[in-house]
Structure formats: C-alpha cells, structure tokens
C-alpha cells in the first residue's frame, strides 16, 4: 500500500489555479525527487498536502486516512492536525523563527509528545546529519547565514517522528557547494518505512540520489523529467 496517494488534486490561490487534476502516489521507503522550473507548482503541491493553499479539491490519502477533500477557505486551519498525523514539511525559504535560538527552533519541530520527550536524542541525531549546527545551538536563528538557516529548517523537520518528509527547494539561494552537501545529507538520512519528497529545481543535485524522479510542468506531473525542464536532458539512471 502506498504511504501517500493523491487523486485528482486541483489547488490554487484565489482565482489562480496552479495544480490541474494531478495524481501521484508515494511508496513506503521511497525517496522521490520532484523537479520542475520555477512557478510550475512544486511548492503548491507540497503545500496542498499539508493544506496550506488558498483552496483545494481532490483526495489525499495518507496511510489509509483521507486528509484532503474540497476546501475553499480556512488556509492552514487543518495544517497542524495533518502535520501531527505524521507529515513533516521543511517549507521553501526559511520558515524558521528568527528570534528563537537554534536549539529552540529545533525543539519546536518535535511536536508530538513522544518526540518531545526524546528531543535531546533527536537533536543529537540532527546534529549528526548537519554537524555545523552543533556549534550554533545557542545562537539566535535570525543571525545565521542562509545555508545554516536552511539546515535549521530541514533539521526542524527531521526532529519529528514523521512518516513522510516534504522538503521544498533545499538548494534555493544557496552556494552550489553548500546545497550539494545539504542534499547529500538529506539523501543519506535513514527514513525506514517512511518516505521523502524533495522538490528541487536543480536536476543534477538529485540525479542518482533519489529512487524516483518526476517532472512537474504547468501544474501537472510529467513522467518525462526532460519535458519539465526544457532543454536539460532526462537522466537515464534516475528513472524507474
């Protein structure tokens, strides 16, 4: 059984419709790469899963439970519930808390009571993934550099004991070397029976690291990654 199954998803903001009747399913233990140019709906797809778009329609089944449905208002009203049911999102840009310390930022990611109790251990394992954070725990998150902020944001998502991790544009605005390291670290994390979706513009970053790659073009899923990215040749190894 797939861990996440989207059927007939449409979503958008106000009069703008971004996703058009989209189907997608994610299997347990799978690392899925979602590539596509700017403005083709990658972020909207991830936000739709957690209910953060302006409106949405269509079914989203997560671990056999329906979390989607038609919704015309109430942005983010269901998000906390969805997130608590086991989906962690590292949103685009940094939705970190600039006035809190790095430690508090990470702790805020441990939102289930089980993960809150084991937050020290979880913090250590996040630091294992992102060693630079170890020295910065006391620092205010607002004073970090872009790469460090992104690490905090992704690390915060890893603090929860979620089944599904959604990582949105880990490389956005980062130097190539740093984003390479970040994505490599992401792809080495043990997700067990869970799954991870990484949305990314930069195809070579994901190539060979994820189990499956899908292209997004104009709000629809294209199996052919090259089509979504225009002239970039499709990768042979990344395809199922």
């Amino acid at each position: 059984m797939s861990i996440l199954k989207l059927t007939g998803i449409s979503a958008g903001y106000g009069p703008v419709r971004v996703l058009h009747d989209l189907d997608l399913s994610v299997e347990p233990g799978e690392r899925l790469g979602l590539v596509g140019l700017n403005g083709h709906g990658k972020t909207t797809l991830l936000s739709t899963i957690v209910g953060l778009t302006g409106w949405q329609d269509g079914s989203i089944v997560f671990e056999g439970k329906e979390i989607g449905g038609r919704r015309t208002h109430g942005v983010g009203r269901k998000t906390p519930g969805i997130v608590r049911s086991g989906i962690a999102l590292a949103p685009q840009g940094d939705a970190i808390f600039p006035g809190l310390s790095v430690k508090d930022n990470l702790d805020s990611g441990a939102y289930t009571s089980a993960s809150w109790r084991s937050r020290k251990r979880r913090r250590d394992s996040v630091i294992n993934v992102f060693p630079p954070l170890g020295k910065l725990l006391k620092q205010t998150a607002g004073t970090l550099s872009g790469g460090e902020r992104r690490m905090v944001s992704v690390g915060r998502a890893l603090m929860s004991d979620s089944k599904l991790y959604l990582v949105d544009e880990p490389s956005l605005g980062l130097a190539p070397k740093i984003s390479m390291g970040l994505v490599a670290a992401l792809c080495e994390i043990d997700i067990g029976e869970g799954a991870m979706i990484i949305a990314e513009q930069n195809l070579p970053l994901l190539e060979g690291r994820v189990d499956r790659m899908l292209g997004m073009h104009a709000g629809e899923i294209k199996l052919d990654v090259g089509e979504a990215l225009g002239d970039v040749p499709p990768s042979a190894g990344g395809m199922h």
């Binding site: 449409s10 958008g12 009069p15 419709r17 409106w55 329609d57």
Partner: protein
Amino acid sequence: MSKTSSSPQSKHLIGRRAWRPAWPARPDRVLRRRRYFGSKRSVLKLSGQFNPKTLKREVVLTDKKPLFWLFGLFLLVAIPTAVGSERFLSLFGIICIYAAINVMWTLIMGTAGLQSFATLATVGVGSYGAAYLSITFGLPWPLMLLVGLVLGIAMGFLISLPARRLDGLYYALLTLGLSEFCRNFVTQNEALGGKFNGALFGAGRIVPSDMLTTRLGQTLAFLTTFVALLVALGVFRWINGGRIGLLLKAASTSKEDESFASAIGIDWQRARMIVFMVASGVLGALGAFYSTYIGGTSLQIFSLDLLLLMLAMIVIGGLGRAEGAVIGTVIVVGITQWFTDWGPWRIVLAGALALLSVLYTRNGLFGLKEQMREIRTRRQALHRAAQTTKYAEYLPQQAPDIHDKSLIAGRTFERELREKLRGWITPEIIEEHRRSPLGQHSDHLERILNYFRKAPIPDKYAVYTEVPFQSYRVVALSGLPGVPPRIVDDKTYGSLDEAYHAVFMRRINDLKAS
C-alpha cells in the same frame, strides 16, 4: 436612432439586468442636464436610451441614490415636525447631531483612511471650549460656533502630528485613550465644572430658551440640528466626491497602495492631513453647536461608552459610507433614546447588533447588498458546476471570478468535444485515412478532420515539399509573420499522401495526449 442598433443592455453581464427607472422622452426636445449652481456636477444622472421592446426613446435615471437621499432626508425632517411631540423632536435632534458627527468620522476613517478614535475628544474640546467662553464672557452663538471651529482645527492639527509616523493600528490605540484623558482633565478642573461631574450650564442658545417651551421653539431647535446634519453631509460630499477624495482613494486601502500613490506623484499624506483638519474643524464646530443646542455640556461626551456606541452606529450602517453612518445612527440612537425604560439592556442590544454585523456582514447594512449578490453568484456557480462537473475546466469556487461566462462555456464545450473525438479514434479510422487522406470519408473521420482544421495557426502541422513528388517533410508553423516553420522530425516521406497521413497521426497523438 435606428431600429437595428444593438441592445443598450449589452454592456451588462449576462444574468442580471440593472433595474433603472425609465420614462418616455419627448422626441422634439433635447435632453438637458441640470447642474448644481457653480459646479459641473449634474443633479441627476440621466441618459437617453432606446427601448428595444417598445421601440421608443426613453430617459433613464442611471443613479437612483440622490432620490433615496432626498426621500430619506425628507422623512427625517418631516416625521418629527409632523408629530411635533417634544420627545420626538428631541430624539430626532439627537439623531441629527450624532449623525453629523458620524458622517465626519466616516470622512476621517473612510476617505482619509486614518483609524482615529479622537472624534469625540475633538467634539468635546469644541463643546467645552465654546460653553466655557460663552458662560464666562457671554459669547453669542455665532461666535461659539467659530470658537468650536478654531478649537477643532487646532485639535486636529495636534492629533494629526503623530499620524505621520504611526501605523494604522498604533494610531488607533493612541487616540482611543485621548477622550478618557480629556475626561480625567475635566473632572479635576474646577473651572470646567469638575465638581459638578463636568456639567456646564448657561451657554448661549440659537433658539432662545424661553421659546423652547413652545412647539414652535422645539421645532426650530430640531431644524437647526437638521441644518447641522446637512452641513456635515455637504462637507462629506465636497471632500469625498472631490479631487482630494479621489486622490486618497488611490492610497486608502493598504501599505502597497500608499507606496504606489506616492510613486505616481500623489502627496497622500498632505491630502490626508487636509481632510483630517477639515473634518476636525467641523467636528469642533459640531461640538460647539451641541453646546448651543442643549445650552451647556456634560462629561458624557468624553465617555468611552459613547465613543463605542458611535462606533457601533458606523459599523452597523457600513464603514466608509455616509448613508451607512446616518442609517446606523438612526437605528442605534432610536434604540437607545426611545426605549429608555429598558435600562442598560438597550445598549447591550446596540452592542450586540454591532457585534453581529462585524461577525456576519462584510461591511454593515449597506455592504449587505453586495455580499448577498456575491453569495448568490457563488451559489449559482456551484450549482452550475455540479451539473457539469465532469467537464468543468474551472473549479466552481473559481467560476465567480470569471466575468465572461462564455469563456467557461467555451472551454467546457472544447473539452467535451475532445473527449468525444478521442472515443472515435479507432484503428479502422486510422486505416481509412491511411488509404485515402483526401476525398470522401466516413462521418466520424470527417468530424475529426474538421476539428483538426480549425486548430490555431501557431504550432499547426503542415506538409513541406523538399523535392516535388519525391520528398516531403512534416513542419510546424510558427504563427508569426517572418518566422519560418520549424521541422518537426527527420523523417522524409516519398509521397504527398504519406505526408498527409503523418500529419494526421501527429494530430491524433496530440489529441490523445490532451
């Protein structure tokens, strides 16, 4: 006007026609607009039109608002004068004064976009200043009004100073405390009647006090309040409908609008200040007028509850509209002054009305019409979408935002058509086309070909002759003049029929993929 001219209603959207009063026009006379003296504003917005049903010329009243205003104001002045009881006259007198204050407040909150709660503080300063000077130095009432005006402008200047620096809500907070402070000041000041709970009596009146026991005197006093309301409405119209109001409309709703307005050269801050000062001046004069009306003043004018009650009036009527301010005042003052034996419950009722209108309406009583219309179109769209949900290209919640409903219909039709054609694609049809690309075909194939033919030019497939009778290629047209077609693939075809069929197959594939 000829009979064949298109329907005058055609500029309206499908669905609802605007209902406008129309009456036959004299064909021998030219329609002449009347204008207000000294201005270019027309008294009534009239336009000539041709009625396609009766085939007659008509004069149409485009804007019915002036008639409503006239009728409403007539009722406001006629009812109390006709009834003539003292209670009625004083009730409507209070309504007129409060309505005038509320109209000025609307000017500040709506037109100038300043969230100021200093209204009653300004009124109170005008009222106390005028009453104090009148009692101490025996000022006659015209001078009291003048003093009120000057005090109001001064107050407006002082209060508007922080407005330049502060954000909307910060400013609201700052000014909310102002009347409470004024109340404190008066309580502790003996010259202003601090000992007698801030009550001052014996100020000059417009209608002499010995006349006030007669019905004539009471009616006259009421009429003065009505004149005050008319003055306030006139100022509102003059500012809000004039150039400054127009300038401020560009800047009034959001921060981005403000930046945009400055970018196109509107000095909205200055315009805002002017509006604020004018409104404050009138508010001060209204305060002084209040003193002349009741022959003194009292601390009630500074109380937070009165301020909240006035806010309730504005909110119930609809923020930012003069008619809303007046109707809201009539409702709330009517409740609070007429049912005096209900005690505090009447204020609870007024507050509950305000609360309900904030919770359930978008902009009070006068925003209701728009809200209802929106709900209706949304519901219609949902209904329509539910019927055609299989083919709808748009989500129902999106449909109300698209004004041209034919777009939706067109898209729905196209999709339906494509789906039908797709069902007709069979190996037999393809084989039939392969055998003879030109000439007579079966019905289904003919329809499919017709659909292909009406495709738009950009990216339309065509056959390109490299060597006549030997080599043909499939190209796609660019759709732009001067830009050559691009070659689609590297296959060449030996005969024209083969090339035709290749084009057909490409189109079939595109249709399948769509």
